[in-house]
Symmetry: C2
Subunit: 388 residues, 2 copies
Amino acid sequence: MSVQYRLLRLLRDHGPQSRAQLLDRLGVPRPRVLAELDRLVAAGRILEAGPAASRGGRRSTLVDLHPGVRFAAVDLGASSLDIEITDGRLEPVTSHTEPCDIRSGASTVLDRVSELLGKMRGQGHFSQLDAIGIGLPGPVSFRDGVPVSPPIMPGWDRYPVRDVLAREHGCPVVVDNDVNIMALGEQHSGVARAVADPLFVKIGSGIGCGVQVHGEIYRGTGGCAGDIGHIQVDPEGPLCSCGNVGCLEAFFGGVALARDATAAARSGQSQPLVARLAEAGVLTAKDVADCAAAGDAVCVALIRAGGRRVGQVLAGLVSFMNPSMIVIGGGLAGLGHVLLAEIRSVVYQRSLPLATGNLPIVMSELGSRAGVVGAAVLASELAYGSPL
Amino acid sequence: MSVQYRLLRLLRDHGPQSRAQLLDRLGVPRPRVLAELDRLVAAGRILEAGPAASRGGRRSTLVDLHPGVRFAAVDLGASSLDIEITDGRLEPVTSHTEPCDIRSGASTVLDRVSELLGKMRGQGHFSQLDAIGIGLPGPVSFRDGVPVSPPIMPGWDRYPVRDVLAREHGCPVVVDNDVNIMALGEQHSGVARAVADPLFVKIGSGIGCGVQVHGEIYRGTGGCAGDIGHIQVDPEGPLCSCGNVGCLEAFFGGVALARDATAAARSGQSQPLVARLAEAGVLTAKDVADCAAAGDAVCVALIRAGGRRVGQVLAGLVSFMNPSMIVIGGGLAGLGHVLLAEIRSVVYQRSLPLATGNLPIVMSELGSRAGVVGAAVLASELAYGSPL
């Protein structure tokens, strides 16, 4: 890792520091660090930010990231678009969320992203972006910056997302899978901070997993590692949208839960669901969460059954990967304690004792912000010269 | 990675080379490489080995590993003990195999290992070992060099294998799980050579998996990654030795196959098995393999059913890890093409197309030698100064 990258990362994660502190933390020969700092000052990437607290001897000067550094973090979901502009330390400067149908196609969606970024620039939140990080709800070739055969993104296959945005905004762009950026976010400033080998499980419309190994995202040979939604949990199970039967997603996730809730309403099993269906004409996972919270036994049972299926898959993955933590995130993490309790119960019972002896299974701390935080981390890694 | 380590590894993997070739391959400033070479010559670790082919200009001298470098590679199985002494390039100098009951306990087994090493020394195969690599059939804390709660190794839990052998033989020792060393062997000089993210599946008495990430063994937080034998494949399945039900090992592996073959003989389903049981009083996986090869339908069906179960677990792991290759090894790999065909069929049908698009599923090339080769690789990594 280059000295420049390590310097910028220290300033990103620990704030303004004296040259002496940076020297201590880097363990690189003094002349090399000082030369690198001079170069970064000359390039306008960092600046002197007042006197440091005295450590005796000559007074040192604080060094900080240039206050004008700006990253754009974009998190595209199946039905939502989140953008955050951050400074060099990844603190949000401004943000925006709106519904967005990923199926409307690459150019429509990316045009909207660019329009929003243009508006933010117009409002004075930045004059030039240093990098953009963007997450997509499907498999991504990380190296090429393109989605690859994404099942829920018609018209996006191999669309040059990175190159289009880079040309439009004149800055480097990094594209990744949405679950990977959530995992990165949670590891940078959420519950998995400083944890080396966590698994991040996103339970939203579908179910995916961010795999981290020695602190880095593991993307697999073809960029599709972590696609656990189509692991078979029951060979006699229902047909899945992927064409196979009994996949995890055929049992649980936002789509499956809405389907089961609708069935429970139609058959009259759950009066609260009957009432909600009559009123809204459609049921979603949110209805199940609300009714479960209000004590409806059918909804609680639906969540429990889903948690058991997720736990069943995770139990196998825990035996296989022996991770140091499991983080549960995504829209359905809001189903709350019942879900978490069921997942824990199955994993702790089914996985090898050696693998579960010291394995926290916890909720995401960043919630719906995990994605943009991770996208900002990726953008900064790119801008700061990480060997991504 | 230190220059010294990289130099020694180049000589290990590519044989004698001129200083000029080493300089080309390392891409490190010339004075630093030459100084490091001088230091290694002075320490007696490498030597000059005659003139190199001329590349024009001043004649260069070949550099080689010292011919007296010796590694001991030990592969302990549930019922066997393999030892190989290698030179610095991991070429075997001598080897020995004998039956060995791991349940006879740590000191008995390790005493026998030391006795055999003493004999080999007496025969002049080495005067001093540079390092020992040893694989054990159970979970290992790689950092501490001790087995951790190994299910089939009574009396071994936390036994200081590394320290005992190091004291006895006066050299550094590295201890790992037997499946991990097989995976390493296969990647160093077998079918997975130069493959970055292969999975190595050992099917022996039990079933385990060596997980490689970016060319390195991934051992997990507690050192027990890859323990796929106890992933549940059927909640209604038979009771497993681990106390859970329906684990992969309860369905397949040497122990399960012997059990099912005995049942098939007792019930008279398979005449060839009936005859073998009458003659030997006991049946093993080898009987099933022989009878299947001779066309016995019951035995072929047993292998097929086992392959389907293994495939079922691997299909999930392929979706999760998106590996670049799957290597099937271990004693039961000898069940041959029927097993491999069944595994392939299930994985290719069940995993995501993106993950299987370019995924070879192949037999181990090194066979029963995979373990000692990997143990020698580990020993050399330790001796050559790898950041293991």
